[in-house]
């Protein structure tokens, strides 16, 4: 299915948390400032309902998204209020993909975990949690994964300041 088909199907089955779709467009010739948007289309989903959404995508036989290919977060800009959660779904049976984006506020970055739906989210969520400071409620194993356990700060945030030293080893 192409993106339009998937979106229609999502609307038809009233997937929980579906907020809309964003498709690439050419720059507006009238407006000089507008540079357009390129790349992939994606659907916007309410972060609080993401696990339910993933479950619906997995169980619906026409969507059949059985694999979470990628689950990550993005900090779009220093002065942006939101973080994005980006999920890439892949269907082995139907051979299509779907990109999902959720917005969560930086000030209160809390969202439910998707591990009960897809266990592959477990490590991805741990990574997103330590890198961006997102709390995944109900995560079975909320430890650091790549960074040392006593690491301070969230390195992938845009306003992160590089450490001076760590355990007596200078970083400069």
């Amino acid at each position: 299915m192409d993106f339009q088909g998937i979106h229609d199907r999502l609307q038809a089955i009233q997937a929980p948390g579906l907020q809309g779709a964003d498709e690439p467009r050419e720059p507006d010739p009238e407006n000089k400032k507008d540079k357009g948007r390129f790349g992939d289309p994606f659907v916007l989903v309410d972060a609080k309902l993401l696990p339910a959404f993933l479950q619906v995508c997995r169980d619906d036989e026409r969507l059949n998204m059985d694999l979470v290919a990628d689950f990550t977060a993005t900090d779009p800009a220093k002065d942006d209020e939101n973080l994005w959660i980006n999920v890439q779904l892949l269907s082995i049976g139907q051979k299509h993909r779907l990109a999902i984006k959720c917005m969560i506020p930086k000030a209160n970055a809390v969202m439910p975990t998707s591990v009960p739906v897809h266990r592959s989210c477990q490590w991805h969520e741990r990574e997103a949690a330590e890198m961006y400071g997102i709390t995944f409620e109900g995560h079975p194993d909320p430890r650091h994964i790549l960074l040392p356990d006593d690491w301070v700060g969230f390195p992938m945030r845009k306003d992160y300041e590089f450490p001076e030293e760590y355990h007596g080893i200078s970083c400069k």
Partner: protein
């Protein structure tokens, strides 16, 4: 391996009250063997982890009852760097997370940026890209297979495979000057045209490799000891594989016929597949259960041959022409976001790039197949024998540079 006994008292062996009398008249005592859990720390510096990874295993006697991979011993901040350097400057870093298949990484990253830019790649560049990516896949599988034999105690195949790999590296050196970190596939094409005579040398490599490949199969794949140690070990059923998001040989070893080159083709693979030039080997459970270690290794070994076929297809079809599209030196990538997943030797290598129209990316995310494939160890190691743990870990074929990035 360092081991730490959890409690201090020794395991005790006591004779139980019952005695079993066997038919033949022999007597055997039933021992009530009481053991205690022991934590075995495997790594981070251990030759069988293929890098620096640590697994904390809990063992009850000989049986592993729990496993917890600890990563991050090679975390090199690749994604943060992606947000700080220019688009073209990031290319060398892509070499370095999966250093066994650097060409494939270059390809994945370039394709993601090209998707945003919408450039058309010259056909000859596509051909050379495919040849390089497939040769690199062979090289990566050679290491995976060779070190796997090494883990299981077979030293000779390792040396044999490095012999072929050395030739392959010489080929790469001729085309781009580096043995390991190529940065050869650029955004918009490839860095330079193949030097004269290179393509015919690749042809010769293919001829030789086909003969040698049979040697490997005889040496290891049907070797009785090897089969005994890998068949029925570390079985991953299909639903578990999907739940953990496995891709690549790990998924195909479980019998799922899914390969991005065939099912969601990119670049030239569509044409090649329609030409029926290659097949996708999947695990069959020939020597044991479907989805065991042997099947995964089998998929890798068969894939090397398929790669040779793809290379041959390209060699037959390649024509002269330009090798790089017209790309400015300072790249400004149009705003937007794109995700491109390609079939790397280990599975789906995804690059998710976000641009705001500037010289520097907003986000360069790498979805490393090793990272995802490794997670399954938590589920398949418990219940296995400690001696089989090495076989299972080796069969996942991880590259630590990619799990940690």
């Amino acid at each position: 391996m360092t081991s730490t006994a959890q409690e201090t008292h020794e395991p005790t062996i006591t004779r139980s009250d019952e005695e079993v009398v066997l038919d033949s008249g022999e007597r055997e005592f039933m021992f009530d063997v009481r053991t205690q859990d022991m934590e075995v720390n495997f790594g981070p510096q251990h030759p069988a982890t293929h890098g620096v990874m640590r697994i904390l295993m809990r063992a009850d006697g000989e049986v592993c009852t729990g496993a917890q991979p600890h990563l991050g011993y090679l975390h090199r901040c690749a994604e943060k760097i992606g947000e700080n350097v220019e688009w073209l400057q990031y290319l060398p870093y892509t070499d370095r997370y999966d250093y066994l298949a650097a060409m494939n990484n270059n390809l994945g990253y370039s394709m993601a940026v090209e998707k945003l830019m919408g450039v058309e790649i010259p056909r000859r560049a596509l051909m050379i890209r495919t040849i390089c990516a497939e040769l690199n896949r062979i090289g990566s599988h050679l290491i995976a297979f060779g070190t796997y034999g090494l883990d299981l105690g077979a030293f000779t195949p390792f040396l044999y495979m490095f012999r072929e790999r050395e030739w392959m590296m010489a080929l790469f050196e001729k085309i781009c000057g580096a043995r390991l970190t190529y940065s050869y596939i650029r955004i918009g094409g490839v860095f330079n045209d193949a030097p004269p005579g290179w393509l015919s040398e690749v042809e010769r490599f293919c001829d030789t490799f086909e003969e040698k490949w049979k040697e490997y199969c005889d040496l290891l794949m049907v070797n009785h000891i090897f089969v005994k140690r890998t068949a029925d070990v570390g079985v991953i059923p299909v639903d578990m594989a999907l739940d953990f998001g496995l891709t690549g040989p790990m998924l195909r070893g479980s019998g799922v016929d899914f390969d991005l080159r065939k099912d969601m083709p990119y670049e030239l693979y569509d044409e090649i597949w329609k030409d029926k030039a290659f097949e996708i080997p999947v695990g069959t459970g020939e020597k044991g259960t479907l989805g065991d270690c042997w099947d995964r290794v089998y998929v890798r070994v068969m894939e090397m041959m398929e790669s040779i076929k793809i290379v041959r297809w390209c060699l037959a079809a390649i024509e002269p022409g330009p090798v790089i599209a017209d790309i400015p030196k300072t790249l400004r990538v149009p705003p937007g976001e794109a995700y491109v997943g390609i079939e790397n030797p280990r599975g789906e290598l995804g690059h998710y790039v976000v641009s705001d129209g500037g010289k520097v990316g907003v986000r360069v995310r790498v979805r490393g197949p090793s990272f995802v494939n490794l997670a399954v160890l938590e589920a398949i190691l418990p219940g296995a024998l400690i001696a089989d743990a090495i076989a299972i870990i080796g069969s996942t074929d991880i590259v630590v540079g990619e799990t940690d990035r």
